[in-house]
Amino acid sequence: MITFDAVTKRYPDGTVAVDDLSFEAPTGEITVLVGPSGCGKTTSLRMINRMIDASEGRILLDGVPVQGIDPPTLRRGIGYVIQQAGLFPHRKIVDNIATVPYLLGWDRKKARTRAMELLERVGLDPALAGRYPFQLSGGQQQRVGVARALAADPPVLLMDEPFSAVDPIVRTSLQDELLRLQSELNKTIVFVTHDIDEAIKLGDQVAVLRVGGRLAQLADPKTLLAEPADDFVREFLGHDRGIRRLQFVSTEGLRLRTDLTVPEGSEGGSPEPWLLVVDGDGRPVGWRAAARPGELEPYGTFVRGRDSMRAALDAALLSPSGCSVAVDEQGKVVGVATREALDEALAEAVHG
């Protein structure tokens, strides 16, 4: 657990970057620090591994004040991931990952074995081990950055806007990868971002900071979206806060109809305006309108139980039928959520 106890950072010119900040980042959870530029989120993060020293207050790592620990020793025990990855350009990928193990005096072979293991763990081809950073894409470099931070298996990971310099598609996959890794590793992670969507997606708890380095609200994402503490937080969350809340509503209880699917090639009348055509394996092929039986229209799917109501609603909007196709993990159709069913679920979400 990381504890901020009335921490203030004041620069010699009088600027206050962080003002009387107190919060806890619980063990094994992701705590996201989010806020506009100048809110002191990066300063707060960097005070944990003493890249910056706090002016007042204490930061405790499992009860031990970090100010009492020699900075290089402290940092070797804390994983650190930064925006541009910051890989050493003159070293091969495998040696970049093994940086901290080498510093800790691990035997070279052991360090490299560990590095190879991590390379695979963060979803990279082991063939990249012998390359140099400039030969990798931005997204790959960032994965190496994460692997490097994890190399000595530190209990704590600090991530400073690690995914903000890559394109949105790569960013999404890196975020998913981080969540997958975290489900296996259970690190205590402090993650800094200016992107509220990223904060809500990744955070077990989210600390919203306002300019001047004061804590505006600390809450889990669902609570944050439902009950913003004040106008600043409300504005920072943005106008589509309601839609985003649906991310936290399960599709488990969504009422599904199973009488709207027909096998491929079948014909014949039905009173329904839309029917979902499925192939021999039970996978969706397309929607058939009663008015134009010769054509198939596009469909949208969501994985029942795993995906949120936001995904289910999105899937419905993608299809002219206005219905959303529920599938299982294998992609087989388990039913159809009609507009009426979605409407009921939305009404429940608003009231419940």
Partner: protein
């Protein structure tokens, strides 16, 4: 085309003369002298300028010194400096010549080393400290390897300058390849002037080649971005 013929003639005369290949004023001896003076001056300059440039670039303190040194180097008249030292210290040893050579060679190395270290991406420096490297390790394991191309560039510039100036140093009575040119002019022996000039050009090219080789061997492919790695 008569000048080409004359040029070739002088070359043949100079290099064809067996007497030019032996003795204390023969080509091998003069080459060796030139190499010794240049190498000694350059080595001393590297010993002074590289550690100084590393220290200033890494700590960020004393940057003014580098600026002053760089400007001074541009302003100093090479020959004047040489003559002054010889007049002050006499021509009894090589030091009156070596000292000004070192003074000339220090600024390019100092400036490039300093700029190389200072110019390393701050993100990289940050990452290095963040991983838990200590100050000296950050310098030695990250900053120097990354700044190496610039540091070597400074050394190469100085080496070329030293080789050229050593030629001029013959004017003060020092040995080296410059003797052929200076003495040749004095005695209107144009074969000697032309032959000596060609030797100096070849020597300079050789120095360039040596540095290219050193660069190739010492700079990481990840920094030089040489392709076709394995």
């Amino acid at each position: 085309m008569s000048w080409v013929t004359a040029f070739l003639g002088w070359l043949a005369e100079f290099f064809g003369d067996g007497a030019n290949w032996t003795g204390s004023d023969g080509i091998p001896a003069r080459l060796l002298e030139h190499l010794e003076f240049s190498a000694l001056a350059l080595a001393l300059a590297v010993l002074v300028a590289v550690p100084l440039g590393l220290a200033i670039g890494h700590t960020g303190r004393g940057g003014m010194l580098v600026v002053v040194a760089a400007n001074l180097a541009r302003a100093l008249p090479t020959l004047g400096l040489l003559v002054m030292f010889v007049l002050l210290l006499g021509a009894s040893s090589i030091w009156p010549v070596i000292i000004p050579l070192v003074l000339l060679a220090v600024p390019p190395i100092l400036v490039n080393t300093y700029e190389g270290i200072k110019g390393v991406d701050p993100e990289l420096r940050d990452a290095a400290y963040g991983m838990g490297l200590r100050g000296g390790q950050v310098l030695g394991r990250v900053l120097v390897p990354v700044a190496l191309p610039l540091i070597l560039l400074g050394c190469r510039l100085s080496a070329i300058q030293v080789v050229a100036t050593t030629t001029v140093a013959a004017y003060t009575g020092l040995g080296g390849l410059g003797r052929y040119v200076i003495d040749g002019f004095a005695t209107k022996d144009y074969a000697s002037v032309v032959g000596g000039s060609v030797l100096i050009v070849l020597f300079a090219l050789f120095v360039q080649a040596v540095f290219a080789l050193v660069q190739r061997v010492t700079v990481s492919p990840g920094v030089s971005r040489r392709l076709n790695i394995r």
